[in-house]
């Protein structure tokens, strides 16, 4: 199904992660790697050179036992909109190998165009972009399990979370086949959303008031999508990256961990 962006209201796909529900089990990470043919090494313990599109951080409140609290923060690509689509990474890529899609709000990565300068990685404050330092090699026989819908990446290029964009394409195809003009909320869900056993991840169109994501955080379009829900926040909000991944928590220290504040700031 081909949609003309001029004739439909632009979608803005986004993700809400309820940190009070997340148990840090890592199912989202596994589902993401499996779904997107993410290559891995024998030893993945060095997180500085292994690829995890969805990475779960463990954060503490810094207090000693028994006041210590732990929070797990899953971090996919934030699909930043920046100002008018000038997200930190998109605006710097010299070869237009990463692009901001105004019709979906998804930041894409064109692997065959990327020539591996890594400027986008330098620009991303979330460390959501990964470089293929090695050729992708899967254990014998595992090639059979690769998803045919996602192209594996070659050595020397950058890759990142795509909000499972191939699922969006499949959903559109299915809708066309079934004679529908548009896709429903449930038609397009990311692998991590579906894999989360705690139901901590919600995915949908932030522009659509009928979608859960919109109702959960109430993004304010007048303020670059800043959430009206007082329990919602975005990582590094004050940098102006305008991300489309929101977090929910009732814990004040978790919210504060999401951004940098001066000592005298509330």
């Amino acid at each position: 199904m081909k949609e003309d962006p001029n004739h439909i209201k632009a979608r803005k796909f986004g993700m809400i992660i309820d940190l009070d529900k997340c148990t840090g089990c890592g199912a989202c990470m596994v589902a993401c790697m499996s779904e997107n043919n993410v290559p891995f090494k024998e030893d993945e313990s060095n997180k500085l050179d292994s690829i995890t599109w969805m990475r779960v951080y463990k954060v503490t409140n810094g207090k000693p036992y028994p006041d210590m609290e732990i929070c797990y923060i899953p971090r996919p690509c934030m699909h930043c909109e920046g100002s008018h689509g000038h997200s930190p990474c998109v605006s710097v890529c010299p070869a237009t190998a990463t692009d901001y899609d105004q019709a979906t709000g998804i930041v894409s990565q064109i692997y065959t165009r990327c020539f591996g300068c890594r400027y986008c990685m330098a620009a991303c404050p979330y460390h959501a972009r990964y470089f293929n330092w090695w050729d992708p090699v899967w254990p014998t026989g595992m090639e059979q399990y690769l998803s045919p819908n996602v192209s594996p990446r070659m050595r020397g290029v950058v890759e990142k979370c795509t909000f499972c964009f191939h699922r969006y394409q499949l959903a559109k195809d299915r809708a066309f086949y079934e004679g529908r003009k548009t896709i429903e909320e449930g038609d397009y869900q990311t692998a991590c959303t579906q894999a989360c056993p705690a139901g901590a991840i919600t995915f949908g169109d932030l522009n659509n008031p009928h979608h859960k994501v919109n109702q959960l955080v109430e993004p304010d379009p007048k303020h670059n999508g800043r959430p009206k829900n007082p329990n919602a926040f975005r990582l590094l909000e004050r940098l102006g990256t305008n991300p489309k991944v929101y977090y929910l928590t009732s814990r004040e220290w978790v919210k504060r961990a999401g951004d940098n504040y001066l000592k005298n700031e509330d």
């Binding site: 070869a95 591996g116 890594r118 020397g156 290029v157 004050r238 001066l262």
Partner: protein, 413 residues
Amino acid sequence: MDSALIPQGVKRCPTWQFLLWLGIVGVVLLWGVYAMVLCWIKGLNQTNMNDAYGFALWIWADLAVIALGGGAFFTGFLRYLVGKDELKNIINYAVLIGFICYSSALLLLAIDVGQPLRSWHIFWHANIHSMLTEVAFCLSCYFMVLTIEYVPLILENRQLDKIPFFHHLGHNMHEIMAIFAATGAFLSFFHQGSLGGVAGVLFGRPFAYREGFLVWPWTFFLFTWSAAACGPCFTLLVTKITETITKKKLVKPNVVDLLGKISGWMLGTYIVAKIIDTWYWALVTVPSKGFTLTDFYSNNALYGIWILVMEILICGVAPAIILIIGPLRRNSALFMTAIILAVIGVCINRWVMVLQVMAMPVLTFENWVLYYPSWQEVATTVLPVVYGIILIMISYRYLPVFPQEQELNPVEK
């Protein structure tokens, strides 16, 4: 053996000595070439770069050599456009050093990218919003300009000059060199600036981010300014090193003094602008992102406030004062100290704008990440240095690089 190729009226070391040194430097060159081939064949896993350090030693070296090569465009600008005629006695060497620096930068970039065979994508799929696109276009064009400026010097070789076509070609190229000098100055303004913009536009990295004028962050202008100030210092430093090695005076003191004085004023004005920029950044930009200045210089093993003091005061203010004040500038020890400090200063500036940007955590739950280069990175960074030494050795031996050499070192017949 090669006396027919050596310019008339000057003395050069015996051929065996020349070849011996060429061989010694050549071994280091081969080491660098081996590391380069390893990176191309096996990929960037040969380096110690990682996902936190997408930019590392090579990008620093790239920015540093381009800043140091700035002596070519600025000396050319002064000689051909401002009309400082004395500088004709050092312009050849400035061009040669610039040529070495820029070819080195291009080589380093070719090693640094993950898919070198796709480098043309930067031109074909150019993103006009990217500072790196501007760098690529201006850098490539300016390298062509430098080649055009270097060619007439090659054509002045004794044997080549005997061929009428080359003789006339060289002569005619000299005649229109002002056009290329102007083109070079124009291109350099933009690529030096856009290299500054590379860091300055990173609004996701508060350590690098700067506000600015229209689409250009202040680092755009500061990089051009510092290259114009410190590039000539590097030209002077290499000239002094060459004089020490050859045990000859190659450029008259008035030429050195003039270029040193102009560099001093450029450095002095630059460092005032840099202090204002740092002041505004520390008091306005950084707090608006939730940081304090001390956040950038604490909780890690390397980047203390010392690096800011070193860059601005010791390697900025101090050499500027020495080079501006005549009696201090004319003291040879102080002069050498000043040009060395200026060169170190601009290298530190490029270092922090690349490496410290990467090291500094932005997410509250991440930590500083420090990095040390692999031997392959070191060898490939040494490669342009030895390549430069070899090109200087060959050029000095066979080309009339220094017009005043004959007069300053009369050969007894």
